[in-house]
């Protein structure tokens, strides 16, 4: 048995990597939301001077990476790997946004769970002694996601109350082998869960079982109790998925309500910003983690955080073929200090 593997799905890192710096860039709507104070940059409009939504998303990635290097006081040649992904077909936002970086690149796809996926793999690369500095980065863009997964923006249609709003934004995290924290100590890699939800306008419901499964497995594998964490935060379940996740956990005898929240619920003012069930997308959990949670940890307001990014692993083709939506969730346990 691998010595760093505990329980069924959890990895306990022997040499926990430090989160050296983060960077976050968001769109104008997110810049008017509940967390507007905490982002590094709020872009003035969704196109940001580019000629297409996809190019604008690549620019988000490019600028988030540049901002991260600046915040971490690192140069390109010090980075051993970039782990990045997004929601667009063939992950073009990441690969085009990072093509001029001249840094070894591993593209990832875990839908909206990509941020936790990249942080998990990055941490293991560092813990294993394969790298000193790893950049984890994801992005999403409301307009590019809408046209890929739903309808043209100008189409006069109505959203259902359960629909979520794809966050325009990018979040980046620099992991390093040496540093003073926050440290990534445990990782619980999630399983694909599918309870048969087919409604693309209710992704929270599709992802909630996966989130609950990963949370339960994390506590079972580590033997921890929910109170151990100051914050247990899922990626983008939204208002309805958050409730469903709590329901499933409660039925399994685990109550995490006191310190549980969801990035999709946190980022927008759901009542005033007309985002229905809340935010979604790779950029949602990435920007909330990089912009808000990391900074709260550095201020000392949060000491231990369980960050669980959640993803819905469908494609427009699988939906048209009447397939249900599989969900995935990965948990990353982050500690301000090693006490």
């Amino acid at each position: 048995m691998a010595e760093k593997h505990i329980g069924k799905q959890t990895v306990a890192l022997k040499n926990p990597p430090t989160i050296k710096a983060t960077a976050s860039i968001v769109g104008p709507k997110e810049g008017r939301g509940e967390l507007k104070q905490c982002f590094d940059l709020i872009i003035p409009d969704e196109l940001w001077g580019e000629s297409s939504w996809e190019k604008a998303e690549s620019k988000l990635v490019r600028e988030a990476f540049a901002k991260l290097l600046q915040n971490a006081k690192l140069s390109n040649d010090k980075i051993d790997f970039i782990l990045a992904g997004d929601l667009l077909n063939q992950c073009i936002a990441a690969s085009y946004g990072l093509r001029e970086t001249n840094v070894p690149f591993l593209g990832l796809y875990g839908a909206c769970s990509t941020m936790a996926e990249s942080m998990s793999i990055g941490s293991m690369l560092i813990d294993g002694g394969f790298a000193d500095n790893v950049v984890c980065l994801t992005s999403s863009h409301f307009c590019s996601a809408e046209r890929q997964f739903r309808f043209p923006l100008e189409l006069g249609s109505q959203r259902t109350p359960t629909a979520q709003w794809t966050v325009t934004g990018s979040g980046a995290v620099a992991l390093a082998s040496q540093g003073t924290g926050p440290y990534i100590r445990n990782i619980t890699v999630g399983k694909i869960n599918d309870l048969g939800i087919t409604d693309i306008n209710n992704m929270g419901a599709a992802m909630a079982p996966a989130a609950a499964d990963t949370i339960l497995t994390h506590f079972a594998d580590t033997g921890l109790v929910p109170e151990y964490y100051d914050l247990i935060v899922t990626g983008d379940l939204g208002k309805i998925g958050k409730k469903l996740c709590l329901d499933i956990l409660r039925m399994n005898g685990l109550n995490i309500e006191a310190n549980y929240n969801d990035c999709g619920v946190m980022i927008f003012n759901l009542n005033e910003q007309d985002t229905h069930a809340g935010g979604s997308g790779c950029g949602c959990s990435a920007a909330v983690f990089a912009g808000h949670i990391y900074k709260e940890m550095m201020k000392g307001n949060l000491k231990r955080v369980l960050f669980i990014a959640t993803g819905a692993l469908m494609s427009p083709v699988s939906l048209q073929q009447k397939e249900s939506i599989p969900g995935i969730a990965h948990a990353v346990s982050i500690h301000r200090s090693l006490d």
């Binding site: 043209p152 109505q158 921890l224």
Partner: protein
Amino acid sequence: MPEFTARLVPGRDIIMKQVFTKEEYAEHVKRASPNSKIFINIIKAFIVGGLICDIGQFIINMLKARGLDSEVVSNITSIIMIFLGALLTALNIYNVIGKFAGAGSIVPITGFANSVVSPAIEFKTEGYVMGLGAKMFVIAGPVIVFGVCSAMIAGVIHYFITYVP
């Protein structure tokens, strides 16, 4: 390096139980998800849809007053309404109306114009041929296909009723 100190609760045994079957989960999700406000949506659709038809009727009356015969009038009215739908789509106004009115602005001919023009605008970034040209009917295409098919069927039935004794 201090060992990771697990706050283990003795005898604690958490295993993800299959608490829901797919059917039970679907039922639970349905209960947890708010429904669309159908009654208020119907009223909004009725008012806006009615207003669009009023505008159409107003144009018909104006054209008739100028002495055009009724077949020409209905053709010109359709052209004007399609133009207005396309124009409001390009000005980014029709989606705002659509968000408020729902079916009220989808069903009239202006909604059809919106469903053609909106992908044309959206996919222009992939070029005029493979983008705008190819994607223009991505929403309206099925409506045209099945519209033509049902017109054919209706035509055949009409033929048999009218000409076959």
